[in-house]
Every structure is written in structure tokens, then in C-alpha cells.
Amino acid sequence: MAGPRVTVQTADFDLAAEAAALRAGDGGVGAVAAFIGTVRDRNDGHGIDSMELEHYPGMTERAIEAMIDEAQRRFAIRGARVIHRVGLLQRQDQIMMVAVTSAHRGEAFQACEFLMDYLKTQAPFWKKERTPQGAQWVDARVSDDAALAKWGIEKRNT
């Protein structure tokens, strides 16, 4: 696989095209697992009109690169691709994607979940919701720390 493993961008993305590129030319791939995060219309009981996403340029990419390196140490994966959008996003827009390739499904499923659990609490992104009552920063969830801890990684975010 050629091309970048991590991209932070304002533009939308096409998972099918990314998955095709990720496994192109690699005959050893027997599984592609992927996750897409999208903008819900509600959060914690209130409506959401749109969402603004901020990141730490440079550090964000570097942090996710390190997470992929760790996923490759833990799981027999062949490739991984992470795209995360920033800027203004509307309800139902795609926010981010993770795609992982491996020989068999188990490793791809696991690595995909591992990367998501890691990214949720250790990659510098921040969401600000615009609601009918005004704009507010999204609170981090303790449950996301617990999700990362189940992989044996104790790095608290909250």
C-alpha cells in the first residue's frame, strides 16, 4: 500500500475508494474492517444543528501515526487508513473513518476497534456543538477511558 496512513481534512471522504486503495495490489488481504463516525442529530438529550471540529495540526497526525504503529505491533494487520475531518460539519455528515486490512477478519475487527478506542481519548480533536440553545464544547466521556483500558492501556482523558 502506498499513500498516507493518516489525513486530517475539511473535505468529505469515500470509504469504498479508500478501502479499495488500501488493499490494492496486496493479494494477502482477506479482510477489510472499517468504521465511520457521523454527526448525530441529538446528544445527551438536546438537538444538534451542526458541529465545529478543531484539532492540533501536526500533533494530531503524529499521534494517530503512533496509534497505527501500536496496532501493527499488537495485531497481524496489513494496512490501516485513518481520515478525520475538521471544520464545520452538518447533521448526518461523516466525521471520520478507520479502515484496516488483514488476512482474516478477527485481526481486522480487533485492530479497527483498538484504533477507535485509542483515537477517542488520545488524539487531539475537540468538538463544539451548535444547538438551538447555543454553542457548547462536547464533554469527554469516562466510558471512553474505560474502552481504552480494556486493551491494557491506562491513559486517562477525563
Partner: protein
Amino acid sequence: MKVRVRFFASIREALGAGEGIDVDAGATVGAVRDALIARGGAHAAVLARGRALRCALDQVLCEETATVADGSELAFFPPVTGG
């Protein structure tokens, strides 16, 4: 020596994107936070002890016991909420 301090998200909204500040040689990240809190006002409010705050030294997440170096980039930000 000089370090570049950067803020993000809600902290950036309160304090601006950041600034260059002079710190003592051998200062820890926690000492820099304390120096900023000592300014009072908005700095004291959003960087206050007890508030959930994360920090990164030269673009890698760190603990407050980490030691800054001349020219370091030190960032303070709230818990992250991507994904």
C-alpha cells in the same frame, strides 16, 4: 529560557492561541501551569487545579512532571473529543 505555549478549544477561546513566555531552566510543565495561573483572571479560571486539563510537550501528550527545554512547544487543552 523561552517556551512557546499553545492553547486549544475552550482554553484557546478564553486565553487566545498562545504566546512565548520566559521560564526558569529546568521548569516542569506543572510549574509553567502554575506561573500562568498566578497571573489571575481568565488564566487562573481556565487553568485552575482540579479542572480536567491535558498537556503536550513538543506535540506528544505528557504529564505535568515533564521538564521543558529552551524552545519547547507546550500545549494545554481540555480532554479530547474526536472520533
